[in-house]
Amino acid sequence: MFDVEKIINILKSGGLVVMPSDTVYILAVDATNKLAVEKLLKFKNRWVGKAISVAVCNIDMASLYADINDIEQNIYSSLLPGPFTLISKGKHKVAKGIEAEDGSLGIRIPDNKLIQKVIEKLGKPISATSANLSGRRPHYSVESFLKTLSVTKRNMIDLIVDEGKLVRNKPSTVIDIRESEMKILRRGELIAKNAKSFISKSERETQKIAGLVFKKIEKPIILGLSGDLGTGKTIFSKEIGKLMGVKEKIVSPTFNIYNDYGDFLHMDLYRINNQLEIDEIKFFEIISGKKIVCIEWIENLGKENIDKLKKISNLKIITFNYIDETTREIKL
């Protein structure tokens, strides 16, 4: 493993660290250290006034550096950690050059254990700008990044945490949440319409959204998936199962009604038409004692059963809507 202490010591002394994140390689400095930030700006050839986003380890830390009201708090807990940068109103507690000229601050909580640990131990936000020179593409490997640098620039880097080639995730999606309507400033990995609604443009994005949902799960839950044929319910469920650690292939349970994978139960009520059949499959019995249950076509349960389910379990309904051939909206 990487030496967290070493990274922290370098950050504390104002050093510049290249390290992996959940999206691309980033350039990390202590965001509250004036000299370190100056060094970063110089490295990136970036003029002061064009903001640099920061990474924090949780919402509590975010609220020390930005004004976050209740509505914004909701958005934070729904989207982070995840591939988003949220633009909030800064409290001017970071070094000059981090906040934008209008006083806004871009905040991330990367979904990366190493970064979270570093920030937690450092106790301060770090810069989370992608490892590239201004105007250039981000990098997924240290090697390709270093190739673009002059010797002078290379000498400015104090530590490189090389994790090899990263999965080619897009950079984060940047969303301004200061107004009541969220504004997407840069389209990245995932698109969020608001705190509870995502746009998926591919199977992979639906999987990412499932990943985001999975990360928020803290206690046993039933995910009721509602939506038309071919909107991604099975893809979503498969990803949840995979994240639960199911090793075998998870296939459509339409024919068998449900597939039991131990802690994970994958159910599909597409073929269920009436109360008799719900009773016959012993619905309320088979869903009990599971950590996560995904139920496709939850609407086929009928209102009464859904109300009952709400009372006895932690039920979350997720709806899948068809927008066009390659676009789905997933509402939490």
């Binding site: 038309d228 044929l229 071919g230 099975t234 498969k238 292939k249 296939v251 459509s252 339409t254 024919f255 068998n256 009604i257 449900y258 597939n259 039991d260 994978y261 073929r271 269920i272 038409n273 008799l276 059949e277 016959e280 499959i281 012993k282 088979i286 068809y322 051939e325």
Partner: protein, 331 residues
């Protein structure tokens, strides 16, 4: 050796009697003459339906008493858990009551076996089994030695056909209806995606075709769908069969079997049978498919045949009390 076999893994309540590898009787509850006895109303998946029918189905298959039966066979899985339970409970009850040996059979092995009746099989053989619940390519080195070399990543092929039929407002099961409509239809009227093009992948995927098809016809006026229904059916069916044959061919090239087998409910489709025969001819290999519908769809005769070979190998259930259904049983 006389075998009574019971199969209740899904919708159909089935029982059969075999004398060694030969079928004496093969009764399936969804046959029309049996429907009448229950007044026609048969819920699709209810356990109660299996419970109501199982005794009658077994009686019909036995045509006598259980005394001269040597072995009782039952499907242990995979399938719908509650449905499996009915067959297993009945098999356990009879085995105990009449002190018979019990053999537990994997439903998929049954489907493989359904193409074995009245034929000499050359090994290694490669079997495509496609039904409402399964779509698999299985390499058979010898009876009892199976390797799954490809399978669906999402929907089964029969399930995809059923769902497409439902989208067009047709009945269930949709496979036979689509087959009827597809005859003479224009397969090229819609452009459906050709999925899993990678020649190294022997797995199947049908949910992408299903989704593409659905959203192509979803907003069309009903009259237009009705007018072109033959073409739509042909188009969807072609897309499913194209993939089945394409992946089957890849597997043949990779594993070089001496014989091809095909089974499962989808093999009732004459167009698919024709395509598979052509494929076999092209590959210069013999092909075996169950010769009648009742051996393609879920049935107990295939379970009986698998049990016959298991019994010959001495693979009986040791502790009858402990036999439990296994809804996701592996082959």
């Amino acid at each position: 050796m006389k075998i009574l076999a019971i199969e209740t893994s899904c919708d159909d309540t089935c029982a059969a009697v075999l004398e060694n590898a030969k079928i004496i009787s093969n009764v399936i509850s969804s046959q029309t003459d049996l429907y009448k006895e229950w007044g026609g109303v048969v819920p699709n998946i209810a356990k109660q339906a299996h419970k109501e029918r199982i005794d009658l189905v077994i009686d019909k298959a036995l045509r006598g008493d259980l005394a001269d039966i040597d072995v009782i066979a039952v499907t242990q899985g995979p399938g719908l858990a509650v449905a499996l339970g009915v067959g297993i409970d009945k098999a356990k009850e009879l085995a105990k009551k009449y002190s018979k040996k019990l053999v537990a059979v994997n439903h998929i092995e049954g489907h493989i076996m359904s193409s074995f009746f009245d034929h000499e099989i050359k090994f290694p053989a490669l079997c495509l089994t496609a039904s409402g619940g399964h779509t698999k390519l299985i390499l058979i080195n010898k009876i009892g030695d199976y390797k799954i070399v490809g399978e669906t990543l999402d929907d089964a092929s029969g399930e995809a056909l059923d769902k497409a039929a439902k989208m067009m407002g047709l009945g269930y099961p949709g496979g036979p209806i689509i087959e009827r409509l597809a005859k003479g239809g224009n397969e090229k009227i819609l452009e459906l995606p050709k999925v899993l093009r990678d020649n190294k992948i022997l797995d199947f995927s049908f949910s992408g075709i299903k989704t593409s098809f659905y959203y192509k016809i979803k907003d069309l006026p009903k009259a237009e769908i009705a007018q072109n229904i033959k073409d739509y059916a042909a188009c969807f069916q072609n897309s499913v069969f194209e993939q089945l044959c394409r992946k089957f061919k890849l597997a043949i090239e990779k594993y070089q079997p001496k014989m091809l087998l095909a089974s499962g409910g989808v093999m009732c489709n004459l167009e698919l049978r024709k395509r598979l025969r052509n494929l076999a001819k092209e590959m210069n290999l013999p092909i075996n498919m169950p010769y009648k519908k009742e051996l393609n769809t879920d049935n107990a005769a295939m379970i009986g045949l698998a049990a016959y070979y298991k019994a010959m190998r001495g693979e009986f259930v040791e502790d009858i009390e402990k036999l439990e259904r296994d809804a996701r049983m592996k082959l």
